[in-house]
């Protein structure tokens, strides 16, 4: 499907989404509560069949966090970017997509480790790069520690 077709088909299923077409891929911005049902539709509907989550990351915009999911379909060869805004930066949380794509397990561990996003219903949420007793989440813009020399 082309970006245009994807866009039309998605609006038919979900009305609460907004689009951003500035990049190469179609960006779909969705409220974080709607993420899981929306992702399930993308994965299980035959015409979409997004069977491959090839990147999962997070961006800190200071006043909110943005989860970013890159999805690809091996059968239709189309790609989409799903973004979900998390407004609560003190205690950010979002549903895990582990049930849909197993690969999300380690990706979500990484986002938890470096951004501190809690994934609900994740099988084993833990720090994977930093030590267990590390304080804070280093990729957050407001992170500081005693080793850090600020410019």
């Amino acid at each position: 499907m082309t970006n245009e077709e994807l866009k039309n088909n998605i609006t038919q299923v979900f009305s609460a989404v907004t689009f951003d077409e500035t990049g190469e891929f179609l960006n779909v911005i969705i409220p974080s509560e709607e993420l899981l049902p929306f992702m399930k539709v993308l994965r299980s509907t035959k015409e979409f069949n997004f069977d491959y989550l090839f990147c999962l990351t997070c961006v800190d915009w200071k006043d909110h966090l943005m989860m970013v999911y890159f999805l690809n379909s091996k059968t239709h060869n189309h790609t989409i970017v799903v973004k979900a805004k998390i407004t609560d930066t003190i205690n950010p949380q979002i549903e895990s997509v582990y049930d849909i794509w197993k690969t999300a397990e380690l990706n979500e561990d990484e986002v938890f480790d470096l951004f501190g996003v809690k994934f609900l219903n994740h099988p084993n949420l833990r720090r994977i790069f930093l030590e267990e007793d590390w304080v804070g989440y280093p990729l957050r813009k407001n992170y500081v520690d005693e080793h850090m020399i600020e410019l």
């Binding site: 790069f129 030590e131 080793h147 850090m148 020399i149």
Partner: protein, 175 residues
Amino acid sequence: MGVKDKLEFPGQIHETPDGGFMVTQLDAVINWARSNSVWPLAFGTSCCAIEMMHTVNAKYDWSRFGFEVMRATPRQADLIIVSGTIVMKMAPVLKRLYDQMPEPKYVIAMGACTISGGPFFYNTYSVVKGIDHIIPVDVFVPGCPPRPEALLHSMIALQEKIKNDAYFRKQVDKK
């Protein structure tokens, strides 16, 4: 030119009809041997390591200067070229590798990262700001990454340092 000079024996050789004898200092001859057979540890942590591998291979070929074999175990190495960023998590590993090397041992800090944290000096949570916080360094090579010529230069500088060492005399003095 220079390469051959460095291999020249430090002392006098006196030929006699049935063989000959030579006159030298123990330190001079030990240092001569040691500086021409430095065994570096195969250790590299990031982009500088690529440049170091380049220096090993045919185009630059550091064997010409007496750095023949790279060792995969610190127990057989006497030089560690720290080539690349050292992060907090790597620091204890580097210290342990250094501790496992037999005396006398030498350290070359290759690249801006190992000198001061280099490009990762500001706003980083992970990078050690200079490996001299962890282990003593003999030669620093600036650059990001240093060219192979620069690394060779530092190794030749290290050879000079080894040649001026009085290792044997120090052992005697200790007694």
